[in-house]
Point group: C2
């Protein structure tokens, strides 16, 4: 049996990756902040090299920007980029829920209700980890699609906007969990109509974007450091 538990890092590079990812998601490393390999390496009791390779991975996911000879900075998102990510998420999650529809039996629906309940509880209790519950809700639906790459893509998109979402939820009086109508998504799923569920999910995802964008705009948060994009630009 493989004794490396799922959450366990097999290699130093992986450990570095997880640690830095965590710190970006949580907001410990702010957009625009420069990440110095040596510092992080000392912190994790390893050398610079695995940290550098972790940077590479993060750069490919757009969380960090590496300019040659000029180091690695946490990449904030412009308003336009946030919109773009939500647009992409909307069609991908729409696809996911459509593909997941055949698998929604009674048990799955019950579990879905559980997720809803947990979310609402977290929202009522102050909303500190409402965001995590919300991501789990979406992840559960996507998971039922049975499409590994699709799931991973969507997860990456959630992670990319997470830092912005956190500051939003932290600073705003009327946060998402008060107005976001996830119930509509669940209702649509219950109808059994795949096309309908897809459309509702699309709308649901897109609805958050303008409010988040407005908030960031009001804070003047255009930390515009466009990340190096994943693949080669030209086909």
């Amino acid at each position: 049996m493989s004794f490396a538990a799922k959450g366990m890092a097999a290699t130093a590079q992986d450990e570095a990756y997880r640690a830095i990812l965590q710190d970006i998601r949580s907001g410990r490393y702010q957009p625009g902040e420069r990440l110095i390999p040596e510092t992080i390496a000392r912190e994790l009791a390893m050398s610079r090299m695995p940290v550098r390779e972790a940077f590479q991975r993060l750069a490919n996911e757009g969380l960090v920007l590496i300019r040659p000879n000029r180091g690695c900075v946490v990449s904030g998102l412009t308003i336009e980029e946030i919109y773009e990510l939500f647009e992409i998420r909307s069609v991908l999650e729409g696809l996911a829920v459509r593909l997941a529809m055949p698998r929604f039996d009674a048990a799955a629906l019950a579990e879905l209700d559980d997720h809803l309940a947990r979310m609402h509880r977290a929202g009522a209790a102050g909303g500190a980890d409402w965001l995590s519950r919300h991501q789990e809700f979406h992840a559960y639906i996507c998971g039922l699609s049975g499409r590994p790459k699709l799931i991973a893509q969507i997860a990456a998109l959630h992670i990319a906007v997470e830092p912005s979402m956190r500051v939003w939820l932290h600073h705003v009086a009327q946060p998402a969990h008060a107005t976001e109508r996830q119930d509509e998504v669940v209702e649509a799923i219950r109808t059994g109509d795949a096309e309908h569920a897809e459309a509702v999910m699309r709308d649901h995802v897109l609805r958050t974007a303008p409010r988040l964008a407005e908030f960031l705009r009001s804070r003047g948060q255009a930390a515009g450091l466009s990340p190096t994009l994943p693949a080669s630009a030209q086909l």
Copy 2:
């Protein structure tokens, strides 16, 4: 003025990345083949390290699989994975064409026709580089969406299936360029109806998948080496 031309590699690592990517796309490195850093490093007149980091990038894009302590192999796609990639591409390119619609003026439509013509010419002339022309056709449409990340994602998907496509086009008598009806897409764009264009693009993309899949199945090509997926699996 920046004297580093766009296609120029600023760093050794980037050079390695481009070289290996090229060799995977072209089919020089076959799925399942093991990539030995030292060999490639010698070939490119550099040390192992930049090559290793290039591997990382390729792994993140799913083109290569790195198992700890067990090296780096070119990751072939299973039939299921190919279907999945086409599904994802269909919704993303559908989104792209929808967003691009407002920008289709007379000039853009003319250029689109140019692309079509070039494609048909390449197809008639034996189809050696029909695939590249086809990718350029799609890239042109996506480019008009003005969404950098969306464009990059789609490009990455095209690259991922490119090796399989190449063997298909090379081995089959009735290849895609004979039956793929790109004209329908252009026609739909001409109507000016964004929703319609999106639907047509979706269908267009999905149509290729089953035929490619059938071909690969007939060759028994289930080179099932599922790549390490981009982001963290759990949200």
